[in-house]
């Protein structure tokens, strides 16, 4: 199968079913270069799953996933590793290697995947840490960092290989509103400056509208809305409207176990 080169990522009728649950049920999405696509949805709706499918960590039950011209699920292990080096990922809880300091965490992909000298690596690490405002924290261990700092180190690590795509899993999770805004601004400035496409999975509305150039909403394993942030607020779908308003009245909680809490 070939992939139109004007999309950085394309999902075609992707399904993913676990024995107990069908997480994705025919998801189709195309991400254009320099897009900041925010995927929204409730917890457990499949946002992180889509990011892991793009990385090839999960395999779809059906459908196709392309990153540039590569069909992710058909790549050999060695090729998949090469393709992953072009994708950066920022995890919800940062996933920094707890036994390595900040410098070593950011330097890891360069040390393992390139033939650069230590001096070159140090220079790149310094540059990326400068970008996220942590140039003076190189020797700190992850346990000594605050939540916001960890996110920023994770972002520097994702940027260090100059990727074509960065995936963010709940970038504002666990952060206070001010730090959350700082991270959002950082995402916008760094993706614009580095001219990189990004996909962000989040359920934080403020953050989503701040970052997005495009927004998609997942509900019951399907994309029920896909529009620019300006158009998104006007979508006449009760699920989208309830999600945007955060109301307990509406279709989202119908038949859900969470509905009990509202009674």
């Amino acid at each position: 199968m070939t992939q139109p080169l004007n999309h950085v990522v394309e999902l075609r009728d992707v399904e993913l079913a676990f024995p107990e649950k069908k997480v994705l049920d025919g998801v189709s999405l195309a991400v254009n270069p320099l897009d900041r696509l925010v995927i929204m949805g409730q917890s457990g709706s499949g946002k992180s799953t889509i990011l892991r499918l793009i990385l090839g960590i999960l395999q779809p039950t059906a459908g196709e996933i392309f990153f540039k011209q590569f069909e992710i699920s058909r790549l050999s292990r060695a090729k998949l590793q090469q393709v992953r080096a072009q994708i950066g990922m920022v995890y919800q809880y940062s996933a920094l290697l707890s036994s390595r300091n900040v410098r070593d965490n950011v330097a890891l992909p360069l040390e393992e995947l390139t033939r650069k000298s230590t001096e070159e690596i140090d220079q790149i690490v310094d540059e990326k840490l400068e970008l996220v405002g942590l140039a003076d924290s190189k020797r700190l261990m992850p346990s000594e960092l605050s939540g916001g700092m960890r996110k920023r180190v994770s972002l520097a690590r994702a940027l260090v290989m100059d990727p074509h795509l960065i995936l963010f899993d709940e970038p504002s999770a666990g952060l206070d509103p001010v730090i959350s805004s700082v991270i959002d601004e950082l995402i916008i400035s760094l993706t614009e400056r580095s001219k990189v496409t990004s996909i962000i999975g989040t359920h934080e509305m403020d953050s989503a509208f701040r970052i997005a150039t495009r927004m998609a909403m997942l509900y019951h394993g399907k994309v029920i809305a896909d529009a620019s942030p300006e158009q998104f607020r006007d979508i006449d779908d009760p699920v989208v409207q309830q999600f945007l308003s955060g109301s307990t009245e509406g279709p989202i909680l119908e038949g859900s176990k969470d509905a009990v809490a509202t009674k």
């Binding site: 990385l55 960590i57 292990r77 060695a78 998949l80 590793q81 090469q82 393709v83 992953r84 080096a85 994708i87 990922m89 995890y91 809880y93 996933a95 920094l96 290697l97 707890s98 890891l108 992909p109 040390e111 393992e112 995947l113 033939r115 690590r157 290989m161």
Partner: protein, 284 residues
Amino acid sequence: MAANEAEGARTAEGIVHAPADLVAGVGEKSRSLLVEVGSMFWFIVNTIGETLDRMRRGRVPFRAASFFRYTERAGVGSVPLVAMVSFFLGLTMALLTGYQLERFGTERLVPGLVAIAFTRELGPLLTGIMLAARIGASFTAELGTMQVSEEVEAIEAMGIGPLRFLVAPRMLALFALMPCLSVVSSIAAIFASALISRAYFNIAFVYFQDLVLQSLLMRDIVTGVLKSFMFGALIGAIACYRGLTVRGGAAGVGTSTTSSVVTAITTVIAFDTLFNIVYIVFFP
């Protein structure tokens, strides 16, 4: 009345089905054991494959510093424990066998007995058991914690092979260090036996040395070293496999660590028995 009859029918049905349930239970256990053995085999194959892949591309599979960090932890750090336990065991063995043999006036067999037993059998086995408990548990807990905190997935997501990066240096460190520790164990036990022989059985150190050299064959030493290599690789593979397959948070790490130690010790003993049978049958 009706309730009693129903209860009776259920008991009778239970008795009738008991043999079938037993067979089904054994079958299920055997099946899961085979699946586990198969998964572990492919885990080792994939680790070797990923490492060779990297070497074919002209890159070192992992950093020397990382390998030496594990050899220091597994090897140098284990010397006091292995030496001390082996020393005490050598002491006990020399004492117990010496007092029995003294009744027949053959206490001069003690040096050879301890030397052969430790070089060929007890040295590698004891070291294997101690390393499974000390290092295997630590590898499993470390990798398990990395697994539950998404660190392993992050490494994979960067395009770095986690088997090559995390498992290969650990396995190789245990593979390389195990024979050295096994030699330390044998030397400590023989030394303890020399002390006992001198103190209780009037065997001078020089005579003790002669007796050991007379009784010990090169074949005993080679057998012990060969076994040690295999034990090291097995313990490393089991510990890393259990660590990377942890599920269920902190409790999962605990369960996997226990399981890693139990599996490694059982496997080392089973493999030792198998090795002895094959060795004695085919190379008598």
